[in-house]
Symmetry: C2
Subunit: 322 residues, 2 copies
């Protein structure tokens, strides 16, 4: 399922404006533009689009109130990807050479820092409520804590609870913050703010679980990444956690994923072990449960077209191929 197809007409129009605003936001300095423009190619814009949909979910919200923050959310996301690519020493993302591969980790650290700072500048420059700054800074903090948690326990099997803490900090807080910010900017009432936040949280948990599944079973042509990348770098996710709990080959699997040096043959072996269990169904069922909770949290008073788009985004999250 295509992400843009899930958006309603207004959102699709907003997407075009957003692209232009992103371009403008990184155009302050010629080198920054050269380095950053490719980083923004091919992203789904899931985060700013969630924000824009929520901000326009009861009545149209003027672009001057929404666009700077929408751009800031995408800049923060991209900054975190640039730093992630350093952490994983990734050479490509979305088929495009990463900043660390092109310019070295040194410059990539600074390009990421620049994007974070520019995001906060955009928000400060556009008269947003201090709440907005607070949500953004906490979201970045949470992203870091989630990533640090992950990087400090490579090749260790997390408990289910630890896995959930991690994906919450890494992904669900970000997506729920986007929805929450939309509701705040639109001056929705407290209950609606909480409901849209809960929608984003469910969406985020499902998104990360499906991401973790796609890492093993996605179509490599579509994901653009070879299978088992997480495992190779020592990140142990839900399919493995489940397989370890139920597989007859659990001890072989455990040895394989905690050994510290995962070969392509190991990844193939792990995939076979996972496939012999109910782990794929289990992950999918969990993701669907989070999507259902996202759905029931959608406030009833939204415009029909927005409700539909948010439901379709929920469908997209579980049906997507990358």
């Amino acid at each position: 399922m295509n992400f843009v197809a899930a958006l309603n007409e207004v959102a699709a129009k907003n997407l075009l404006v957003l692209e232009e605003r992103i371009r403008q936001a990184i155009a302050d300095d010629p080198f920054i533009y050269e380095a950053c423009a490719p980083l923004f190619k091919g992203g789904k814009r899931l985060r700013p689009m969630l924000f824009l949909l929520c901000a326009n979910s009861k009545a149209a919200c003027p672009p001057e109130k929404t666009m700077p923050l929408a751009v800031a959310l995408e800049l923060i996301h991209t900054a975190s990807l640039v730093h992630d690519d350093i952490i994983d020493a990734s050479k490509k993302r979305r088929g495009v050479e990463t900043a660390n591969s092109k310019y070295g980790a040194q410059i990539a650290v600074l390009v990421g820092d620049y994007l974070f700072a520019k995001a906060f500048q955009l928000v400060a420059d556009n008269d947003y409520d201090v709440q907005v700054q607070l949500i953004l800074s906490k979201l970045v903090k949470n992203l870091c804590v989630g990533e640090i948690m992950q990087d400090r326990s490579l090749f260790e099997v997390p408990t289910l609870a630890e896995y959930y803490i991690r994906i919450n900090l890494k992904t669900a807080v970000f997506l729920s913050s986007c929805c929450r910010l939309g509701a705040i900017v639109a001056e929705m009432d407290a209950r609606e703010v909480e409901n849209l936040t809960a929608y984003g949280s469910g969406l985020g948990l499902a998104f990360q679980i499906i991401d973790d599944l796609l890492d093993f079973f996605g179509d490599e042509k579509i994901t653009g990444k070879p299978h088992g990348g997480d495992l190779k770098s020592g990140v142990i996710t839900l399919p493995i956690i489940r397989a370890l709990a139920v597989s007859d080959d659990a001890s072989a699997l455990r040895k394989l994923v905690t050994g510290g040096n995962v070969t392509t043959a190991d990844i193939d072996a792990a995939i076979k072990i996972i496939q012999a269990t109910d782990a794929v169904d289990y992950c999918r069922t969990r993701a669907e449960a989070h999507i259902d909770s996202a759905r029931v949290n959608l406030p009833p008073a939204l415009k029909t077209s927005v409700s539909l788009a948010l439901e379709q985004i929920a469908d997209f999250v579980v049906d997507r191929t990358r």
Copy 2:
């Protein structure tokens, strides 16, 4: 000259409060605390102290209006040092093992990001004017642009103008922003805000020029770094720029500093060539000129004790040994 000796009594008392507030700010998460606490050891706190002095320069400003921002300034400075140490692959700073050496570049990237985010959170959490956020985000952006400029022209000789652009972005904007923020928080009039900003700017230019001189001629026992570290990593600073302009051995020196692989013998040779010229005096004279301009910009209406402390900090900047 000792930095703390340059402070007045009120500032010295503030310094103790500041240390405790920094400790609290990084105590949210046990790992972050473990990783960050050593990073704050031994710093001069020049930036937050400039801010605190300026904020209290006409009348006492309540700590709840000053301390969160003072802490934020030190967090931003430390975050930039953590990322610098990744960039330079430094093993030690101020005699303490760097985050990248202790935990790897991966975690160090995230620790730096965390500190940036925490700084913005502190400001958002404490009801500062949106101007404050704007100054902070621009200052981080400028830091990044200055560093990127530097990293993209390693082993190239900058013009004097390029050198000044770089040290302005890297250092002077930060120091002048600290003073400016102090004046803003104290609600000083527009002219005084500009004057204190100019004081900080002169101070910052002088600070960086002296830093660049200490890199060649500082007492290694005091600076804690071997001579010529900048040159080794390809950063060409004012002493070299001057020596290249006036030395009879300019062509040998140029070859040496632009070759891309600077040995200890090369550094010794470069130091000898610099010492045979007026470069040291020239740098010192320039730094003193910036300090004099800092001094004349001090607004006349400051409390005597604060004026004195700011003048002593100016003296400290040119007389310091690290």
